[in-house]
């Protein structure tokens, strides 16, 4: 596996450069801790449970806000995609709102809901729901009409047509929306958690800053990166691979080929 070797060598080199800068660079070591200190902070963070609590709190918020957004965003997207006058009115409003970084909703949210869970959830939802709705509506608009005709012909109408034909016929775009919604939700959540006391990973970053404990800050950043990678690979990566295989797009794209067993 020369590719993996290459990659491993690269990351080792990065670690080495980091360690070298830490030892011999112009900055004092409390401003730029080395990999060893960060690994230590990581270890202690997990050992005393603070990181676990942080991960738990943040993920719980994310899952609540995201599943809410996924459900209602998909619903709104389907309506936008199927009903022209709603698209012309509500659709343009949503496109406009989507240009607003969702963290800009935080001041409003704090005034409306107070410094609490609801305010954070609101920001997460505003981050995710618009992207999901807009992509779902794109997907629904671009379904080849033959699928809808075939579905109606076989007796599907209303709700059954929606769930049985329209949504599954639109997956490339719907999946992009879901993925984008997830990353927007994740980013909004971190921003919101940084801005007020909240127990999550964002707050752990701020605690590190207040204590001037840069090793902890970096350790938390690593945790955040790891969570993002895990979700991307194991949830969305898997869904995408499955979709490509089912739709016959596999051969056109890089990645391990997954032959079907006969």
């Amino acid at each position: 596996m020369p590719r993996n070797v290459r990659r491993a060598a690269f990351f080792l080199a990065v670690l080495g450069a980091w360690q070298a800068t830490h030892l011999w660079g112009p900055w004092p070591s409390y401003l730029l801790p080395g990999p060893v200190q960060v690994a230590d902070a990581l270890w202690y963070g997990f050992a005393d449970g603070t990181f676990l609590i942080g991960i738990g709190v943040s993920l719980r918020r994310l899952l609540l806000g995201y599943s809410f957004s996924l459900f209602f965003g998909t619903l709104i997207g389907v309506v936008l995609g199927r009903v022209r006058w709603v698209d012309e009115t509500v659709g343009s409003l949503m496109l406009g709102l989507q240009t607003l970084p969702s963290i800009c909703w935080l001041p409003l949210a704090i005034i409306w809901f107070g410094l609490n869970e609801k305010a954070i959830q609101f920001v997460v939802v505003m981050g995710a729901i618009l992207a999901i709705a807009i992509h779902t509506s794109d997907g629904v608009k671009n379904i080849p009409p033959i699928y809808v005709r075939a579905g109606r012909n076989l007796g599907a109408r209303g709700w059954r047509l929606l769930v049985g034909v329209i949504l599954p016929a639109a997956p490339p775009s719907v999946l992009t929306g879901a993925k984008l919604g997830w990353s927007f939700a994740w980013r909004s959540l971190m921003a919101a958690e940084l801005l007020f006391v909240s127990l999550g990973l964002g707050q752990l970053l701020m605690v590190g800053r207040e204590l001037n404990d840069i090793a902890q800050v970096m350790a938390v950043m690593l945790v955040i990166i790891a969570l993002g990678l895990i979700v991307d690979n194991f949830v969305f990566g898997r869904l995408e691979r499955r979709m490509r295989r089912v739709w016959g797009l596999a051969s056109a794209l890089p990645g391990r080929p997954r032959g079907r067993r006969a």
Binding site: I146, R149, A150, N153, L154, G155, P168
Partner: protein
């Protein structure tokens, strides 16, 4: 196929007309058309491209509405699509996110057929079109002819009273088409469905139909009817089939030439 029982027609098309709106204004696309179709009859519509054949099928299917006239099916006017009239679309409309089995079971599931019965029916029809062993495949893994047969199995599994076939074999190579003609004739004689079949291939029409109806260029009207008395099973290369096809082609010649002429003129104007 034996001579169908002479009774009230299964399907009555009366004064059906359709117009389309485009940049130049509204264009009359079809009709008026009157046709009676008997129970168990195999009727082929043949006509130049753009004569509204597909539109006619879609109207019978209930997927489009005529501007004038009405279609009566089993004594009731048609309102909307129904599983008693299943279309085999030119583009097939197989669902790529489902396996072959999922596609064939789709309509049965909507109808509320239980899991076991559904599976049994689907496998029965997949056997009928010689696709046993491909239940778990996805649509993109199949060849053109196989997809065609999946679509046929999906339509037959609904046990419709009427099959509406829109140039179903147009995109296939000659060998596959011949084979499917044989299979279709066999299935017809076994299931005795009433079939409306649209094609521009006159040989195909002569090979399959009990009755061939030629249509004029747009707006499509009935030009002439041929009752086909050639005994079954027929082969596409039978001399009788060829002879009849030549007659039908002769009947259509000036229509097709007129269409070509108009296309040439429109190309020049542009």
């Amino acid at each position: 196929m034996a001579e169908p029982v002479r009774s009230a027609p299964k399907l009555t098309i009366r004064g059906v007309e359709k117009t389309f709106v485009n940049r130049q204004g509204s264009v009359s696309a079809l009709g008026p058309i009157d046709v009676d179709v008997l129970d168990g009859e195999f009727v082929c519509f043949v006509g130049p491209s753009g004569c509204g054949k597909t539109t006619l099928l879609n109207i019978v299917a209930g997927l489009e509405e005529p501007e004038a006239g009405e279609v009566v099916f089993e004594g009731k006017p048609i309102r909307g699509p129904g599983p008693d009239r299943i279309v085999l679309f030119q583009e097939l409309g197989l669902f790529p996110w489902m396996t072959v089995l999922g596609n064939v079971e789709f309509g049965l599931r909507l109808r509320g057929v239980g899991r076991r019965a559904r599976r049994r029916t689907a496998i029965h029809y997949l056997q009928m079109v010689h696709l046993t062993g491909f239940q778990g495949s996805y649509v993109h893994e199949l060849s053109g002819g196989m997809k065609q047969r999946v679509a046929l199995a999906r339509a037959l599994a609904m046990d419709p009273i009427m099959l509406l076939m829109d140039e179903p074999f147009g995109a296939l190579d000659a060998q596959t088409r011949d084979m499917l003609h044989q299979e279709l004739q066999e299935i017809c004689s076994r299931t005795r469905k009433t079939i409306l079949f649209v094609t521009h291939n006159v040989r195909e029409a002569a090979c399959l139909a009990d009755r061939i109806i030629t249509l004029t260029r747009r707006p499509g009207r009935i030009k002439r009817e041929f009752v086909v008395g050639i005994p079954r099973p027929r082969q596409i290369e039978d001399p009788d089939v060829g002879h009849l096809a030549a007659q039908v082609r002769e009947e259509l010649r000036d229509e097709i030439e007129a269409v070509l002429e108009e296309e040439r003129r429109r190309a020049k104007e542009r």
